[in-house]
Amino acid sequence: MSLNVLYFAWVKEKVGTGEEQVSPSDDVQTVADVIEWLKTQSPGHADAFADASQIRVALDQLHVPFDTFIGNAKEIAFFPPVTGGDW
């Protein structure tokens, strides 16, 4: 599997990069699997994903839950719950 991984906001700051190309092994099949695999890649990754309840995911630019299969997706993004103006 080859995936373009994007990080935003404090997830990006903790991981230390906004984008990386990864190729996990074939037993990595769901979003949750990708998260567990990423946590092993660096202390920054581990820190960013320490509390997965604070992480939201988009697969090929669509919001998805953690149990979604990666399938043929090319891009996965991890970010905090979205926020906007005060109103």
């Binding site: 994007l6 935003f8 906001a9 404090w10 988009a58 630019q61 669509l62 919001h63 993004a77 970010f79 905090p80 719950p81 979205v82 926020t83 906007g84 103006g85 005060d86 109103w87």
Partner: protein, 156 residues
């Protein structure tokens, strides 16, 4: 129409353009969110917020806003929807978002405009960072936004 941009926009000018594009709609409901002058209200806080910054997910932001506008069109008889949303750094008093909805009946225009705002706040990939005199920090999501967005599911 969806526009995601870092440049400031003029809410009044955009509203007028929308009105003239929709001369066959009687009613236009709009919402403008601006960077409010925090000092007036959070007087208990020693932190002075001077600007805010919105990070976003280029590509997905536009797709989400298009999807939300399309959903509004399926739910109410609308003639037109406009969403303009800024990203990047914004100063106090600047407009961040403008939503306009045009319809024959005002109830449809109001509902669509509020719906777009509620879904946008929970689903469009923006993340806010506040810059103050002492630091800059990411703002947490608000539970009230989830509650507002969920109202639109219950009515289905």
């Amino acid at each position: 129409m969806i526009r995601v941009q870092s440049e400031p926009f003029d809410a009044g000018t955009e509203t007028n353009l929308f009105l003239s594009r929709n001369a066959n709609s009687g009613g236009v409901a709009t919402f403008i969110g601006q960077v409010r002058d925090f000092q007036d209200q959070d007087s208990g806080s020693s932190k002075t917020i001077s600007a805010l910054e919105l990070e976003h997910y280029p590509g997905m932001t536009e797709k989400e806003l298009e999807r939300i506008a399309a959903e509004a069109h399926t739910r109410w008889p609308l003639n037109d929807i406009l969403v303009i949303h800024r990203y990047g750094r914004m100063d106090l008093g600047e407009a961040i978002v403008l939503v306009c909805a045009a319809a024959t009946h005002r109830g449809d225009a109001f509902s669509a405009c509020e719906f777009v705002m509620d879904w946008l706040k929970t689903q469009a990939p923006f993340w806010k960072r506040e810059h103050s005199n002492t630091d800059s920090s990411w703002v947490d999501a608000k539970k009230s936004d989830d509650t507002r967005a969920e109202r639109w599911n219950k009515n289905d």
